[in-house]
C-alpha cells in the first residue's frame, strides 16, 4: 500500500531507490528512512527479544524502537537515518550475531576537542533565539543538534525538496535559522551529545567521530519528548506519538496512514488532525482526555485571547479544519486499548472501536533534562504538571556556574515561552562572558521579558482548559508493557511493588525496568508515580532514576576515535 496524497501528484521530488528486504522502495531524497518505510505501508521494523514487532514510536530518536539494519550496520534508528543515497535496509532482530572479525581497530589519539565561547545544545526555537541574541551581543556562538536540520520539534523544517510548499510555521522557523546564520552563528548538525560531566564538559559523537566540548558557557535547550501512555497495545507497530506523526508529515510530507485516530491531551493533537486532513488523511476522531470546555472555562479562554490572540486563532482554524475533515471530537475519554487486526489496528475508546491504520498518542511531554541532571543542576518536582522543573534564575542561569537552561527541558512551557527565555538566556550568557548589553539589546530584553510573562499566562490558561488526570494503573492490564525496551509488564512491576520494594532502584534491580536502550525515558516517570502512590510519599528530584551517561546509546568505537 502506497500512501499517495495530492502533493505527490502535483510535484516531482527527487527520488532515491532503496532496498528493503528484497523490495525496491522509492524514497524521497532527504526524508527519514522511517518516513519511506511508513509511506510504503511497512509498519514493523524489528522484532524484540520476545518476538514482538515494533516500528516507529517517538519519531525523534529517543525511544530506540525503530531499529533497522542499514548497509550492514546493526541497530540504526530509522527515524534518524536520512535517505541521501541508495541503501540496503533489513528488519532488525534481537541480539543479532556479529560477523567475525568485524569492527575496526582505531588509531588511538587525543579526542578532538572544541572550545566554543558559548555552546548551545539544541537548535529548537529556544536554542535558536538564544543563539541570535547572544550573537547580537557579540558573543561567538556554536549551536549543536542531533538532527541534520536546525528547527527542533516545533519548527520541524522540511527535509524533502519540492514535495510541498512550507507553511507559516516552517517559514517562521526558516527565518529564525536564516537570521542566526546571517549573524554568524556556527551550526554543527548531527551532533549527538551523549554525556555531560561537571563542571562544563560534554561528550559528543559527530559522524562516527568522538568530540569533546569544553565551552566557556553553555545553554541547554534540549526540549521535551512525549510522555509514555501504557495501555494495552501501545507498543504495536502503527501506534506512534503525535509528534512522530507530525514529523512524518511536516518534514517529509508523508502520512502515518490513510485512516488515523488521534488521542491525547492538549492542542498539539488538534494541530496534527488539521495537518493530516490537509494532507489527505482520514482522521476518524480526536480523543481529548480533558472534559469539554464549558462556561466555567470562559475566564481561561479570555485570558488566552488577551495573551496571544494569534494562537487562539490558530486553534480555531484547526477546529474548523477538523470539522471540514469530518473528524469527530471526543472529550473526556482516553484510549483504553489497541489491538492488531488483519488490515490494521483497532483502537477502543470505552465501548467504541475504530479501525485505523495508525493511532497517534499525545498525552503530554516529559522534559529532556538528562544533561542538566548529569551536570548536577538542582531540580524541583512540580506536582501540578507532574514533571521535574530546573531551578533557574530569571535569566535561565541554573545553580551551576556557566550553565544556562531554557525551554521545555526545564519544565514544559511551549515554544513561545522558550523563545522568550532564549533571548533572555542568550543575553545573560553573553553579558557574563564580557559583552555589554546596551541600547537595542536592552530593549530586546524588555520585550522578551514581557513576551515570556504573556505566554506564561497563555500556557497557564491553556492547561486549565486541558486539565486532565494523568496515567493511572487502571489504564493498564497485567500484560501491558510498562518498560518498552526490556518488555517489563505491569504485572511484573506490580509483583515487585507487592514485595515491599520502596525505591525505583530496587524495582529496577528486580525487574530490569528502565535498563534498556531508551535509558528509562518512558517507564521511569510512570514507575516513579506508581511508587509514590503505593508508598504514600511525594515524587521528588531524587525519587526517579539517577542521571547517567550515555544520554543516548552511542557506538563504543565512536567514543574515542
Amino acid at each position: 500500500m502506497v500512501t499517495v496524497h495530492k502533493f505527490v501528484l502535483r510535484t516531482h521530488p527527487v527520488m532515491i531507490e532503496i532496498e528493503f528486504e528484497c523490495r525496491r522502495l522509492q524514497a524521497r531524497d532527504g526524508e527519514s528512512l522511517a518516513a519511506t518505510l511508513t509511506a510504503h505501508g511497512i509498519r514493523g521494523f524489528r522484532t524484540t527479544r520476545r518476538g514482538a514487532e515494533r516500528g516507529i514510536f517517538c519519531g525523534m530518536g529517543v525511544c530506540q524502537d525503530c531499529l533497522v539494519e542499514v548497509d550492514g550496520r546493526a541497530n540504526e534508528r530509522a527515524c534518524m537515518t536520512i535517505v541521501d543515497r541508495p541503501m540496503v535496509v533489513r528488519r532488525e532482530s534481537f541480539a543479532r550475531p556479529l560477523a567475525p572479525k568485524s569492527g575496526r581497530p582505531i588509531a588511538s589519539g587525543e579526542i578532538e576537542t572544541h572550545r566554543p565561547e558559548l555552546l548551545i545544545i539544541g537548535a529548537g526555537p529556544g536554542g535558536l533565539s538564544a543563539a541570535v541574541s547572544a550573537r547580537r551581543a557579540g558573543c561567538a556562538v556554536t549551536v549543536v543538534d542531533e538532527r541534520p536540520h536546525a528547527g527542533g520539534q516545533y519548527f520541524k523544517q522540511l527535509s524533502v525538496h519540492d514535495a510541498a510548499p512550507p507553511d507559516a510555521q516552517h517559514r517562521e522557523g526558516a527565518r529564525l535559522i536564516e537570521t542566526a546564520r546571517e549573524l554568524g552563528v556556527e551550526f554543527e548538525e548531527r551532533v549527538t551529545v551523549w554525556g555531560a560531566f561537571p563542571p562544563n564538559e560534554f561528550g559528543a559523537v559527530v559522524n562516527g567521530r568522538a568530540r569533546r566540548y569544553l565551552p566557556r558557557a553553555t545553554i541547554i535547550a534540549t526540549g521535551a519528548y512525549e510522555r509514555g501512555w501504557p495501555v494495552p497495545g501501545w507498543t504495536l507497530p502503527g501506534v506512534m506519538t503525535t509528534g512522530a506523526a507530525q514529523t512524518l508529515w511536516r518534514t517529509a510530507r508523508r502520512l502515518p496512514g490513510r485512516r488515523v485516530l488521534i488521542a491525547g491531551n492538549g492542542p498539539l493533537n488538534l494541530q496534527l488532525a488539521a495537518e493530516l486532513i490537509g494532507g489527505g488523511a482520514e482522521v476518524l476522531a480526536v480523543v481529548e482526555a480533558a472534559a469539554k470546555p464549558g462556561p466555567a472555562q470562559l475566564p481561561a479562554l479570555l485570558a488566552m485571547i488577551a495573551a496571544a490572540p494569534g494562537l487562539v486563532r490558530d486553534g480555531l482554524k484547526y477546529h474548523a479544519k477538523r470539522r471540514s475533515g469530518r473528524a469527530r471530537m471526543i472529550y473526556d475519554a482516553v484510549v483504553t486499548g489497541i489491538e492488531k487486526t488483519e488490515t490494521g489496528l483497532r483502537a477502543s475508546i470505552g465501548k467504541e472501536a475504530f479501525d485505523v491504520d495508525a493511532v497517534c498518542l499525545g498525552y503530554g511531554f516529559e522534559p529532556a533534562n538528562e544533561l542538566l541532571r548529569a551536570l548536577g543542576c538542582t531540580h524541583d518536582f512540580d506536582h501540578e504538571r507532574r514533571q521535574l522543573v530546573t531551578r533557574c534564575d530569571a535569566d535561565g542561569l541554573t545553580d551551576r556556574a556557566g550553565i544556562y537552561a531554557l525551554g521545555d527541558c526545564t519544565g514544559l512551557g511551549g515554544a513561545r515561552v522558550a523563545m522568550a527565555q532564549g533571548t533572555l538566556a542568550g543575553l545573560a550568557a553573553a553579558e557574563t562572558l564580557g559583552y555589554p548589553i546596551a541600547g537595542v539589546l536592552r530593549e530586546l530584553r524588555e520585550k522578551a521579558l514581557a513576551a515570556r510573562a504573556r505566554h506564561r499566562r497563555f500556557q497557564q490558561a491553556l492547561w486549565q482548559i486541558h486539565a486532565a488526570p494523568g496515567w493511572s494503573a487502571e489504564c493498564a492490564t497485567p500484560e501491558t508493557l510498562i518498560c518498552r525496551c526490556e518488555e517489563v509488564s505491569f504485572a511484573a512491576v506490580d509483583a515487585a511493588l507487592g514485595e515491599g520494594l520502596e525505591s525505583l532502584g530496587a524495582v529496577k534491580r528486580r525487574t530490569r525496568i528502565g535498563m534498556g536502550r531508551c535509558q528509562g525515558r518512558y517507564c521511569a516517570p510512570i514507575l516513579d508515580a506508581l511508587l509514590a502512590e503505593r508508598c504514600g510519599r511525594p515524587r521528588s528530584e531524587f525519587s526517579g532514576m539517577a542521571p547517567r551517561p550515555p544520554a543516548k546509546p552511542v557506538r563504543i568505537g565512536d567514543l574515542v576515535s
Partner: protein, 483 residues
Amino acid sequence: MASQKIIAVYLFAKLTKYNSGKAVALSHGGIWASETGGENPALLINRPRPAGRGSPPLADMPEDPRMKSRYSIFSLARNALNYHKDWERAWRSPEPKAEYDAVIVGAGGHGLATAYYLAKNHKLTNIAVVEKGWLGGGNTGRNTTIIRSNYLQDASIAIYELARSLYEDLSQELNFNVMFSPRGLLMLCQTEHEFRALKRTSHANRLAGLDCRMITPEEVKRLVPIVNDDPACRYPILGAYYQPRGGTGRHDAVAWGYARGADSMGVDIIQNCEVTGILRDGDRVTGLETTRGTIKTKKIGVVTAGHVSTVCQMAGVRLPIESVCLQALVSEPIKPVIDCVVMANTVHGYISQSDKGELVIGGGADPYNNYSQRGSFPALEHTVTALVETFPIISRLRMLRMWGGIVDMTGDRSPIIGLTPVEGLYVNAGWGTGGFKAIPGSGYVFADTIANGRPHPIAEPFGLHRFIEGRLVDESVAAAVAH
C-alpha cells in the same frame, strides 16, 4: 541422576520466567563448607571435594518454624499451576527490634554472607543486617561479577580461593541459583614485564595448589577468537595467565541467596534503615542510632564498602582507606562472542559476556578520591581506547549503560578484616575493586571473627595492625585494576 538433571533444567527453563529473583537451585548437594570447620587455612585451600554429596541438606539447617520452603522442581511445578502467583516472599521485612546480639551494617553480599554464616556456623540468630537503601544495591549490584583467586601472596590466595571454592557449591548450599559459571579466566600478557610478573604469580599460585597455568598466544586466540592477535599492534598478545575455574556469577542472586538463607534462620534484614550514629560506652560499642530508631547491641560488623570510613568515623575509628569511583559499562546485547573472562591489565580493561548477551566491560578507577556513583569521561575514554585496540569487534557495538560504584581502597590493595580499637566494633572493608569474588570467603571468616571475638586464621594477616607493623599484603599488581 544426570537425566533427571537435564529434565530439571529443561523444565526450569520452561517454567520460570527468565531473570526471576526466585530462581531455583536444581541439584541437591551436601554443605561441605561447614564440615571443614575453618581452623586450618591450608586445609581449606586444598581440601578434597567431599565424597558423600547428595546427603539431605535439610539436616544441616536448623529447625525453625520460619524456615522457607525449599525451591525444587516440585515447588516449581506446583507454583506453575498457579501461574507463579503464590511464591512466598524470599525474605521478610521486619521492624527492627530494640536489641540484637550482633548487628551487621550493610546488606551487600559481604554483609549478608556474614549474617548467613553467623547464623549457620555459629548459631547466632538474634542478629540483624541494617541497610541504608535496598539489599544488594551498592557495589554488589554494580560490579562486573568476576570470580578468581590467582593473587600473589599466600594470605590472599587463602581467602580468595576459600571464596572461589565456596562459590562452586553455593547454589546448592543456598538452595538458590547464583549462576556461578566457571567459564575460565585469562589475564593477558601484553608486555614482557607483564609476562614475567604473571609468570611469577603462576609459580606462587601453583605452589599453593591453585589450578592455574600460563598459556601461549595460540591458545589465547583459540579461547578468545575476538582478540586482536596482530603481533604488530601496540600491545601484542604474548600469552596469558589462565585460571580455568575462574569465571562469573550473578551478583544479585548472590545477595538474594544469602539474604533468603539468613532470613530463613531468623536473621532480621532491615532495609531503608540508615545508620546515623554508633553508641559507645568508653571503649566499647553499645548500640546504633538509625533512621528507624536506636538498636542496642554489643557487636557491630561494619561492611559498607565505599562508605566504611564514614560509618567507622561515627565510632571515632579512622581507617586507612580511600574511596574512589570505579566504573563499568555494558554494550547492547549480541549473540555469544566470548565465553570466558578476559582481563587486559596493561591497558586496564576487562570484558565478559552476560547471559543476556551484553558485553560487560570494566575499566580503571578514577584517579582522584570521590563518592560519585557515575562514570567520568577520562576513565571511560581510557578504558574504551585500550579495549577497542585489543578487541576491535566492540567498536561497532553501542554502549547501552554506564555506571559507577564507590570502592574502598587500602594502600596495599588488600582488605581489612577484623577487630578495631573499639571493643565490639568489627570491620570488613577495603576490598577495593575486587570484592565480589571474595563474598563467600569474606563472610565465612568475618562471621567467625565476630562470633569468637578474635580474627579467624585466614583473616589474621588482614587485620588493621598490619599498617602499624608494616606487614603489608601487597596485591597492587594482582588486583589487576588500574589504581
